[in-house]
Amino acid sequence: MSLTTLAIALVISVVGTFAAGLVALWPDPRAHRASNIILAVSAAFGAVVGIYVATGSNVSLIVPEALYPVAADGSAHAWPMFYGMVFGLDRFSAIFFSILSVVTVLVAVYAIPYLEHYAASYNVRSVNALTALFIFGMQGVLLSTNIFGFMTFWEIISIASFFLVLADGTEASRKAGFLYLIITHIGAGAIMSGLFLLSGGALLSDFSVIALVTPELPEVTFSIALGLLLFGFGSKAGLVPFHVWLPEAHPQAPTHVSALMSGVMLKIAVYGFLRVLLFMLPGVPMWFVLTIVVLGVISAIVGVLYAVLERDIKRLLAYSSIENLGLIFTMIGVGLLAGQEGSVDLTQAALYAALFLAASHAIFKTGLFLSSGVIIAAVHSRRLEAMGGLAQRMPMFSVAVCVLALSAAAMPPFAPFMAEWTFLQAVVGALTEATPMLKVALVVILAAVGFVAGLALFAMVKMFAIAFLAKPRTDEAAAAVEPKPGFLIPIVVLAFISLILGLFSPLVLNKIGAVDLAPADLGTQVISTGGGGLAPLSLFLVIAGISLALFLLRRLLSDVKFERSYQTWDCGQPTTPRMEYTATAFSAPIRFFFRFFLRAQKVVTATPLTPNNPWVASRTMSLLVSQVWYDRLYAPIGSGVTRLAGLVGRLQNGSIQFYISLILLALLVTLIVAL
């Protein structure tokens, strides 16, 4: 496909998304379905372009100049009303663009039945329009190549997602929305000021121009800019000290939007961070790399610990996003650290592992959020304790969710395992000839990633088992039925993609540029790094072969029809579904082992039969999982700010004379001091 056709397809995808937003506002009830279909089609175009550019090695930067008005002297210049801004898709942003487009196609398909099912609690037209705007903003960020474009679309993302969080208008979503608004906008401010510091205040300067300017920057402004950028992108990606908004905001948004937010918006933050780090900055000082690694490791551990504790399915997924983002930032940090310390192949392996984990996280996290939407629609509650027995009632759906949950726990045949394998193998490979400081860091990271991988498995098994297995704990769960195809197809497709992405990961890695990570001479079947090799497809075939052999052997050695179904062995006493293990009980050992960090308070209240009759009628146990970061860090800041505001409030005592004298005083001070 020649450049112009690619450019046209790209423009169709972007304009189509915007058009979908406009169509959504049409008062006609059919507009809901139409806008989502347009969104899906335009995203499909985007996916084709993204994948073609990401894998094609020859296409460097598509500037759709075919569509620019040609200036008098024949030189193509950008649309005048865009101040000469140039939009383009290079190989790096194409990876994220294809992730965004693939996810959007499936989310748009999912949105049709979802919003029809929730037509009462959401204003369908505004949610559709805002979702299209949200995706348009993300596309814009990926396409823009200068500060002005980047920041405007970044703002569009923040504003659209803010209103989407408020979509259901409950008090909790309003509170979460404001927290989200505050943190993202402080972050956006930090990014903008960081970029301006780098570019010396030029609003429209191109990223490549900044890359030339940055080497001469004085040390101080350079490190301040880096700090601001880390804070900005970190708060958007949910790194630990700034992660507080993520578990509040994601669950409140409509499910398909929280899938987009968790799956793709966090990757846009990673894209922005990498775009600045790899393409704009000459070299990065050691303290910066170490902070990335430390923040990444801490947010991975905190994310996974709270994911293990959570009993609300969407908050659990949000915390697991924090954990995965923490892993991605650790990989980026280790890549940069290795780059500084001179072990080259660890750098490439770590960075490509980060990219691959980001891509696979987008796939399985979107799938998990969409499936949590289906469960909540069936059970009318987000608490894991109200679910159960869904696997019996929705077999096909539960198989897909089992695949997604196992890929979220980084289990072998699926994509995230390949990313984590590449990273761990590269780290072990680099251990031998690393410098002493790098050795210590790598050992700590090895232990931390192992710890996080273990607990991630715990969290995902808990989520899947408590939600799907055993007997239903509530009547709604008992009445659940297999979801409609509109819900089921996107989730099954996402599970399938996660498997295919895992099996053909060497091919994918080779195509997106990690040539010596998955060398072509081995027929792109093996990922080889740090002295070890992994052939995902043959691994899968071995496992499948063994299972098939066992299946046949069992039929051979025993009579299959000699079977009877009977109630679970209950020691003779009738058992009720309430006796099953709940999410709280399942995670009790971990909560006990890490009680120092987690400070969860268990309150057991025994209610006597009558006030003076000590006989206990019922005993209730409630668990308060305190958000340590929120209570220790954000609450004091919040109360400090409100106290300060109180002081200032006292100034407004209503007397006019007081105000006039203040004005005079201000005038006097400015005249004498300022001028």
């Binding site: 062995w569 209950d570 020691c571």
Partner: protein, 178 residues
């Protein structure tokens, strides 16, 4: 050094376990003839060389339970005969039922029998289980075990000594094998 000496004594020292023969050869005491259903089950399960037992208390006075626990000690040691106690009826091939079936344990006994996978032998141990014993017509007792679930082997005695239990079970197994 005491540990080494203790282990040496236990491992190589004189065995306290009673010789097998005074459980397997049965000359004077006569036993009920073993039914055809028991024969077919034992033939099916490789001659019953490795069977797993689930002890069910259907209202016994705990006398039989003490005898059953004695089976596991060093002197009687039923392990050597391929028998071992298990935690769940799902894993069991034999059900040792003790005591007359009281009203509130009737449901428990029935669910245990139905929970056990089918070729499963029921051994009623003690007079209470076999005939209802001294509680035969009491208002709280439903009756002997056979009133609730089919019984294959009966071992009378109030309570039967571990040797008697072992002799009864092994006799049933051997006569079923031939």
């Amino acid at each position: 050094m005491t540990l080494i000496r203790l282990l040496n004594l236990l491992f190589f020292g004189p065995k306290v376990t009673a010789p097998q023969k005074n459980f397997t050869e049965v000359k004077d005491v006569d036993f009920e003839a073993v039914g055809q259903d028991v024969k077919s089950v034992i033939q099916k399960l490789y001659g019953g060389r490795s069977l797993r037992i689930r002890a069910v208390d259907a209202g016994s006075s705990n006398a039989e339970e003490i005898e059953l626990t004695a089976l596991n000690n060093a002197y009687y040691d039923i392990d050597r005969f391929g028998l071992s106690f298990v935690a769940s009826p799902r894993h069991a091939d034999i059900l040792f039922v003790t005591g007359p079936v009281t009203r509130n344990l009737e449901r428990a006994l029935r669910t245990t029998y139905e929970a056990a996978p089918q070729p499963c032998l029921v051994v009623a141990i003690g007079d209470g289980a076999c005939t209802g014993g001294i509680w035969k017509d009491s208002y709280a007792v439903v009756g002997p075990v056979e009133a609730v679930i089919p019984v294959h082997v009966r071992i009378p005695g109030d309570p039967p000594s571990p040797t008697a239990i072992l002799r009864g079970v092994l006799h049933a197994l051997q006569s079923a094998r031939t």
